[in-house]
Symmetry: C2
Subunit: 361 residues, 2 copies
Amino acid sequence: MDFDRLKTTIANEFGTPSVVIDLDVVEANIARLQAMCELAGIRNRPHIKTHKSPVIAAMQRAAGASGITCQKLGEAEVFADAGFDDILVTYNILGEGKVRRLGALLARARMIVAVDSLTTIEGLPLAAEIGGRVLEVVVECDTGRQRAGVETPAEAVALAREIAARKGLSFAGFMIYPPEDKVMETQRFLDQAIAGVREHGLDVRMVTSGGTPNLNNLGLISGVTEHRAGTYVFNDRMMMRADVARQVDCAMTIYTTVVSRAAAERGILDAGSKTLTADTGGGLDGYGLILEHPQARIARMAEEHGMLDLTGCNQRPAVGDIVRVIPNHTCVVANMVDSYVTVRGDELVGELPVAARGRLR
Amino acid sequence: MDFDRLKTTIANEFGTPSVVIDLDVVEANIARLQAMCELAGIRNRPHIKTHKSPVIAAMQRAAGASGITCQKLGEAEVFADAGFDDILVTYNILGEGKVRRLGALLARARMIVAVDSLTTIEGLPLAAEIGGRVLEVVVECDTGRQRAGVETPAEAVALAREIAARKGLSFAGFMIYPPEDKVMETQRFLDQAIAGVREHGLDVRMVTSGGTPNLNNLGLISGVTEHRAGTYVFNDRMMMRADVARQVDCAMTIYTTVVSRAAAERGILDAGSKTLTADTGGGLDGYGLILEHPQARIARMAEEHGMLDLTGCNQRPAVGDIVRVIPNHTCVVANMVDSYVTVRGDELVGELPVAARGRLR
């Protein structure tokens, strides 16, 4: 493939740094995950936080996805505007302003929200009232990640009963995001929670699990009805380390220019933390993998400077060279730009807006 | 001051997380820096990368600033559109696409650019040709920070002569960004570089230094004609650690809601790395300072989760509480949002677009 020609085209038409998405790789990733879910008998509800693009979500839906997952209401609003009508928001919605926005969404889409506290539940009936129909609610359960989610099956059962007791709310089931190495612990938690709510006459219509690294566990937890994966659509260095993606499965590369070589063992890329972010990927070496110079370390970050340590690098880049970087964490990079440059292999396709970028409320 | 009332207003009118700027503090910061520069007899050329707002830059100009500093051409374009006509771009401009954009800027504004390599210089005459007037060029010198910039006075002199020899370019002087503890080394470098170019009949019209922490060194390096400070306008935890700002000088706070308290010693804010960023501020403890709970650590980040460690915290926040956070690094937070919420003390003022957000090319 002639990446030199593509680099020149992208530099002239868009400039560097550019966040480039290979749609061929995206399509392959979407098809592979859908096939995995179907093989496991689990519905696929992709998390749009990775791509933030209704165009790519439509590709996921066309391949067979059942609904989408959003992390914030602002994301759900962008996707509802684009016609998506089955949306899980995996977040505690708090405050009257947000509850009212949830109600407005509910008036035009099936909405499911997650809760892990009574305070959150108490606010939600207003959304159902505004939406004019039932709001489905799942109880978020923490099976070891220590983030959000109730810590015991007993708490999960208690919240399920609180949901079921409220006008306009329907207890839909449970949400988990299990640590990849805690399949057994998660199964035990889930079994107890399901048995517990059934004792109180409640039905568990859905159990939603998530995470791209958990694709290696797909089908192992009985009772799970759907999976929320986000990163798989683009992949990144973290997914390579998690052994759930190969380098050729990485759809996102940052095209960036070497702007300084002030010393023999140093260099600077024009992609700094405003592009690659300061995300270390949980202890990865450096801030990205340079495909042309894998031995070069992106050692430090300033906002517009990616600082290269070239000590381990035999063939060193020159000022003006354009290189391609696989980021540590693709989701956070997507959030830095207003649009992707899209390609297929070494052919330029065009530009794609990151429609839900920055929707953090 | 009645911050409870302001929190409710902001939550209802904008939602959380919101990046809030206190304009009273901004005005005080602008006035103080301007006075410091005037006392030292040094021109003030603020770096707009911190606020990215022509409205705030106009406040700086009204207070006496001479021109502005931008890090990328895309930022300069936003400010030229807003009528700013004296712009230093502290970055190597490479590639024909960017040189042409620089030429278009030069046609309507005084433009000064920095270089640290012959390759960069060779591309610049085209900009002067397009702009129809002389492009001023400064040589970036590295006096110990090990980022961009030539490493020796001899290299600086050689590049100055290359600039002077080219049609359409004018050697304007030197750019430095000295480490705060290397005043003497910087003075020595600068003295040699200035003497070196004078030997070749070149005039040094400007020496531009920069950095908010270097305000504590203002006036100490002889020959410096102007200072580029950015962060001073908002300040942050890094500036407090650098002892160049107090807590009351921090104009930016993030209003964020506690959305989960799944365990006694843990909690979650709705401001994650999509708001506060993953910037550690070079080793600060946690990802921000919570004004209402200074003993709470913002210990870890997910995109929409700021994860609290409450072990050291006596009075612990409840689900639904809104708290105010001073970020580690204000410039990178500004780049995450499309607009600020503006206040004066505990009074809401309105909203202000971050007009040059995300201009990374």
